[in-house]
Symmetry: C2
Subunit: 200 residues, 2 copies
């Protein structure tokens, strides 16, 4: 053992994090040695608190420190407009944009027969129940454009087929500021097909 | 606040680590949510333990969990052969190579007048005392080839000028496996000047 045992343990903990290899874990653990005592204690406490306190919102599946998350609790938001996302990270992205005033529903996965993930394995039943209780529900499906994403989008469309639910999906097209000649064929094809008339 | 408070705190702790930005800190904090309880507790404990237990070896300045480190305690090593390094990381590198059987002396810095770091600010006095107590001391100066490294090397040479101390420095030259045409001029010049005769 090159390092003292406690340091070796810390390196092993850092290595459990995604994208942190041996070398990087060593670098981070050595950096902790130079932390102030307060910072190390705050770090250790926040690790335990996150694990003990953070749970899934019972309504939408986003992160919360109680039954319901701050988004679902916010009465200034439009609770009839639900943005359906694959995971928590997508919610964070939309919240950073800041323009969306509705609420979310986190599926926690996508339908993927290849990985044995069926409709019953993702957070879909609660979406159905949720929508049933609304007067003028509107769903925005913000799922990625992979086979799994499309399958899930189709499945959700099917669920609400004969019900009065407005459903839309995110627009496909060229990303803002992208160089057209660097774009993939599929995106360009989609952008062409979905072109938007700007004058008649 | 997009995240629950405890998660926000954890993100802030991760951001204090070198090379971890906002996005990365978020990714790591979210990953902790998927950790097993035991792993999170081990992580938190090792943070506190590292800060409470790890100190500097009173002999060589390397990391230890007591007065002296495991290297200085190892009686199978040659305690007359001292490799002088700038920092702890260099010791780790040599220990990973595994061929060095002597001991170390960590300076914890290099002489740098520009940064107001003089000989008295680095771990040099203890090196002098240490060497005085040895019969046939031999020093290997493993400092980098910057102005600060060279200055420190010269200073140490000066300290032991009239004393019976064998002093060497690491060899300069082309790194193993390097493409010659990609090497910088200084390295190539040094490798030419320090060329080694292989037959007469």
């Amino acid at each position: 053992m090159i390092y003292p045992p406690s340091l070796e343990n810390l390196i092993n903990s850092f290595k459990k994090l995604p994208g942190i290899g041996e070398k990087n874990a060593e670098r981070l653990a050595l950096a902790v040695l130079d932390f102030k005592n307060d910072d190390v204690e705050a770090f250790a406490n926040s690790l335990l608190e996150v694990k003990n306190k953070v749970e899934r919102c019972h309504i939408c599946g986003y992160l919360s420190e109680g039954d319901t998350c701050s988004i679902c609790q916010n009465e200034f938001r439009n609770h009839e407009l639900i943005c359906v996302t694959e995971d928590v990270k997508s919610v964070v992205s939309f919240e950073k944009v800041g323009s969306f005033q509705g609420v979310y529903h986190v599926l926690n996965g996508l339908i993927s027969p290849a990985d044995d993930i069926g409709p019953e394995n993702i957070n879909l039943q609660s979406l159905e129940k949720r929508v049933e209780q609304l007067k003028n529900p509107e769903l925005i499906l913000a799922l990625k454009s992979t086979i799994e994403g499309e399958t899930t989008t189709l499945y959700i469309q099917k669920i609400f087929e004969n019900k009065k639910v407005a459903i839309s999906r995110l627009s496909y097209g060229i990303p803002m500021g992208a160089e057209i000649d660097y774009l993939d064929i599929l995106t360009l094809d989609k952008a062409l097909a979905d072109r938007k008339q700007i004058s008649s």
